[in-house]
Point group: C2
Chain length 282, copies 2
């Protein structure tokens, strides 16, 4: 994405936000700091993975296997549907692997009360991370205060110790809406912006990840998700600025990584990727 085009999107987004939510201080220009250092050097890719099983027909044995794999491969978390949070929390107790769940998933069209209730219950049942879907229709209709307030309410319900990610479903958004959504999410208290549900058409693209990272700078994380099924795609997302990967192909990715580590050290790979990335940003 051309720098001038991006700056134009950013200006338009901030203009809209200043009109819709004048009581909030919106950063007048995008952050200049680039990608946080942690992303490139000494990359622990499995440690960035939310190991995910969100299909409607996921069963107890599938959740059990997911948890076992997460421990075996050292993934950051398992990401399961709300109805399986209690089970996953019990299975992973003391393992160091976190439980992540989804709120208002996958359409984001439930009410704020429903999302808040889901968040409170998920935290009570052991979820450490909550990936909520924003109200895409409200964003598209420019009910920006509604979008902002909903995220702020879920943030409040989740409590400061939990990680809150906001799923934008970028495949459904215009470029300016991606910037708008990311700015709103971060200002409302999100710890991460996340590209996709995995159920809304196409998933993460490197270009969207880069746009989101450009917009949130080091103020928030960027989770790439949807369609990430191999190591090359996962690394492309990290290279574009992601510091979390949501995928149901974590085992495949970890195995590819282990095979590749035999060939050359991951630090070298990461350093090369960081140079490439910084090149992209300049």
């Amino acid at each position: 994405m051309k720098e001038e085009y991006y700056r134009q999107l950013y200006r338009q987004a901030v203009k809209e936000l200043q009109e819709a939510l004048p009581d909030v201080a919106w950063p007048p220009s995008p952050p200049e700091e680039g990608i946080p250092a942690a992303v490139g050097q000494g990359l622990d890719l499995p440690g960035l993975i939310d190991h995910t099983a969100l299909k409607p027909d996921t069963t107890v044995p599938a959740v059990q296997r997911l948890c076992e794999e997460a421990v075996t491969f050292g993934f950051h978390s398992v990401c399961v549907s709300p109805c399986w949070v209690k089970l996953a929390s019990r299975l992973l107790q003391g393992s160091g692997v976190k439980v992540c769940t989804v709120i208002g998933f996958p359409h984001g069209t439930t009410t704020t009360l429903a999302k808040v209730t889901e968040a409170v219950e998920a935290v009570a049942c052991g979820a450490a991370e909550l990936d909520m879907v924003l109200n895409v229709g409200a964003l598209k209709g420019r009910s920006l205060r509604r979008v902002w307030e909903e995220i702020a309410r879920v943030r409040e319900a989740a409590g400061e110790e939990r990680v809150l990610k906001v799923i934008l479903e970028t495949a459904l958004l215009e470029d300016v809406e991606k910037v708008l959504a990311a700015l709103i999410a971060v200002k409302a208290g999100a710890d991460f912006v996340k590209t996709s549900t995995g159920f809304g058409g196409s998933g993460a693209t490197a270009e969207d990840v880069s746009l989101l990272r450009r917009t949130v700078g080091s103020r928030a994380g960027v989770k790439a998700s949807g369609g990430i099924r191999d190591l090359a795609t996962a690394l492309a997302m990290v290279r574009a600025g992601a510091n979390r990967i949501g995928t149901s192909s974590g085992v495949q990715i970890a195995r590819e990584l282990a095979a590749r580590k035999g060939e050359k050290s991951l630090d070298e790979t990461a350093a090369a990727e960081k140079r490439e990335l910084c090149g992209d940003l300049q």
Copy 2:
């Protein structure tokens, strides 16, 4: 579907239910009464349609248009996401068109508390009909009591005056699971069983509608939904035993119907369809 195969499914389903939920009286054999008379004669097809807009990026103007169309064409209801129930209720006040919404949609993998909360709020905001998604993973894992209790809790929360439909997502189910789910839903208090969300692979098939009608008899309605985009498909669903149609193509279907009415009276069509249908069942 062959009668002997169906009876085998039914026997297997009842056997599983008697083991999992021995405290409930399960009907030992399928109902014999065939299709309720209301389905065939003097068919008011628009009056059977839940005019539906459930995409994640549905906006306020889209909901407004949906409501206007429902009034114009005499549809039974509009079916909107929970976040638009209040708006649709306000727009349709006094029109005779009902507001229908969805619970735990589209995956059915939220918790029972979340589904109950959604139901209570939807009713408070004016919804007359609730289409809840059952927990497919729990059904597949044969946590049949969990499936049953969840539906019963939502039934209780909705109140007896509201219409409760249970979405089975037939595309994800084995044949025996379709029978299991329909029997559980009706026993737990559902007014309708419904085939599909429209977001879970394929939608309604005439064969599934027929299987569901065969299973619930006149004890509940059958709503066909997912992929019904023209008059021929809608009529095929009615012919198979549906007495409600969920579709976002209601306007198209009503227009086709109006054009066809010029050619021959709908009552004749319906009578012919009924004869055909009863032939199928014998």
